[in-house]
Symmetry: D2
Subunit: 188 residues, 4 copies
Amino acid sequence: MSAERPLFIPVILGTPRQGRMSEHAARFVFGEVEKREGVETELFDVRELPFTTQGEGEAIKDETFSRAMSRADAVVLVTPEYNHGYPGMLKHALDTNLKEYVHKAVGVCGVSAGGFGGTRVIENLLPVLRELGLVTIFWDMNFSSVHKAFDGAGALLDQSHVRRAEKFLSELVWMAKVLRYGRENVKL
Amino acid sequence: MSAERPLFIPVILGTPRQGRMSEHAARFVFGEVEKREGVETELFDVRELPFTTQGEGEAIKDETFSRAMSRADAVVLVTPEYNHGYPGMLKHALDTNLKEYVHKAVGVCGVSAGGFGGTRVIENLLPVLRELGLVTIFWDMNFSSVHKAFDGAGALLDQSHVRRAEKFLSELVWMAKVLRYGRENVKL
Amino acid sequence: MSAERPLFIPVILGTPRQGRMSEHAARFVFGEVEKREGVETELFDVRELPFTTQGEGEAIKDETFSRAMSRADAVVLVTPEYNHGYPGMLKHALDTNLKEYVHKAVGVCGVSAGGFGGTRVIENLLPVLRELGLVTIFWDMNFSSVHKAFDGAGALLDQSHVRRAEKFLSELVWMAKVLRYGRENVKL
Amino acid sequence: MSAERPLFIPVILGTPRQGRMSEHAARFVFGEVEKREGVETELFDVRELPFTTQGEGEAIKDETFSRAMSRADAVVLVTPEYNHGYPGMLKHALDTNLKEYVHKAVGVCGVSAGGFGGTRVIENLLPVLRELGLVTIFWDMNFSSVHKAFDGAGALLDQSHVRRAEKFLSELVWMAKVLRYGRENVKL
C-alpha cells in the first residue's frame, strides 16, 4: 500500500451566505485536517468558486476545482442546513464533476442554528453523494447551536468538537486509505 | 368560499442548464395550467431570476418573485434530476422565501433523460418543500426519456402526458382551493 | 363547515420494542390530544395490532385499525428512530391501508435516545406518508434524550414539551379541519 | 490481499407478501451471484426468519442470520417498493444487527409493478444502510414492471437484466474486496 504518499482531503465550505457561521466550522475542521500527519488539505469556499449561473453540470467546470477533486482521496463538506436541504450553491458546485469523485470518501459536517446539528441536510445529501460515486462515511460532525459552538471571531467554544473531529477524521482517513488501495490495486 | 376569484398557480422552471429539455416540459405544463378555467399562471425561469450568488436566503429576495410566491395559491416545480438531487439554482431560488409559501400547495414535475421520470429528485425535494410550509400533493408528473417525450422544438410527442397533466392539475387545484379556504376561514 | 362534529385523531405508538421509551412520549401526546376540545382520540400500539408477518399490505388488513384510519381526520405517529429509519412494525402496520388515509393530516413525533430528536426518522417517513395520501404538517415533536424527558414511570420531566405539543397540535387540528372541509365540500 | 478466500455475499429477499414477484427477482440475482467465481452466497427470505414482533433490534437477534451477516463481505437486498418505502419486515430483520455490518458493501435491487424500478425504495434505504455501517454501491438493479420481467414461474423474460446484473455484481464484488482488505489491513 502506498502509505507514504500523503492523502489529499480538501474541505468545501458550502454556503455563500453573508454572516455564515459555517465558515467558523469549516475553518475549525480544516485546521483539524491540517494537523493530521500524512494528510494534505485545501479549503474551497463556494462563494469564491467562479461557476456561472447560466449553466449547470460538467459544462461549466472550473479547472482548479476539478483538478482538486480529481486529486482528492476524500472530501469534507461543511454545510449549513437550509430548509432541511443543502444550499443551492453547494449543489451547483458539486454537480460540475462526476468521474473525479468516483470511489473516494466523503464526510459531512452539518451546521445548524438550532439544536439538531444539521442532521437533515446530511440525510438530504446522501443520495446525491452516492450518485456522484462518493462513499459517505457513517460518522458525521454535527454543529448544533452554532452560535454557541464558536465565538464571533471563530474561536471554538465547545471543546467536545475536538474529540468528535478526531473520530470523524479517523474514520474518513481510514476510508480514504482503503478506497485508494482499491482504486490502485483492485480490478473492477 | 371565494370560488370566483381565480387561483394563481405559477410554474417554476428549475434549471439554467444550456440545452435543457426541462424547458419543453415546463412550457407544456404551463400551457396546461393556462387552459384551466379559473386559474391564472406565470412562468418563472431560474435562469432569468436575478439572485446574487454572494448571499443566500431571505437576504437576497427578488421583489417580483417574492410577490408572485406571496400571491400564489399553489406552485408547480418543473425540475430535472441532477445526480439524484435538485438543481442548485432551483434551491437557491426557493430559499429566498419562507412565509410566502406557508399553507399553499405544490406539485412537482420530474424530468430525466433516463427511464425513471425524475422520481429521485422528487423524493429529494420533499423535506425541503415541507419545511417551506408547502403541501406537496401526492400526484407527480414524471417525464422519463425526455428526449422522446418532446421533439427538438418542444412539441409534445408522447400524448399520454396530456391525460396525466389533467390528473395532476386536478389534484393540485383541489389542494390549492382547500388550503385557500383554510387560510381565509379556519383559525389556527 | 361541520364544526360541531368532533375531529377524530388517533395516536399510533410505532414500536414493539421491550423497554421502549416511546411509550411515555405516546402517552403524553395522547393525553394532550385528549384534552383538546372538539377532538376525540384513541391510542393504537403496533405491539398489540394483530398483523400477520406472513403477508403484507391491504391483504392483511385488521378491521378495527382500518375502521379507525377510515374515520380519522388526522393521525399522530409517535416513533423512535432506529438506524435513521422507521421501525419495521410501524411500516408493516401503515402499509395495510391506502384509501383510508387520503387527504388527511398527519403529524410525527420523533423519539431518540440521543440529541437529535428523531429528526432522521421523520425525514425518512416523509415520502411514505405522502404516497399514502397523508399531508404531513410542518411542525414536528422532537423528543431528544428521551430518558431525560420522562422518568421511569412515564412522568414528563421536561415541561417545554407541553408548549411544543400545543403548537404541534394546533397546526395538526388546523390541517385536519381544512382537509375535512375539502373532502366534504370541494370537488376533485 | 487474501484473494483466494471466497467472498461471502448473501442475498436477502425483503418481503413476506403473498404472491410477491420480488421472489423471482431474488432468485434470479441469487443465481447470478452463485455463478461468480470466488463468491459464496446464501438466500435469506424475511418470510422465513423467526423474528418475534414483540420486540425490536439486537434484543431479538436470530443466531443463524447474525452469523451470516457477521461472515458476509457484502449483502444484496432485493426489495419491493411499498408506498415509496421499504417493507416493514425487511427493516425489522435488518435492525437486529449492527456491528455485523460495519465496513461491508451492500447493493440494492429495487422491484416495482410500475415503471420506476423501485428507485424510491432505494433512496429511502440509503440513510438506514449508512447508519448500519454498510457502504451502498452506486450501481443498483431496477426491476420495473416486474410482471413483464419474469413469467409466472419465475423465468427471466427481459434478458437485459443479465448484463445489468453483471455490472451491478462487478461493482459489488469490487467494493467487497476493497473493504475486506481495509478491515483486515488498515488500522482505524
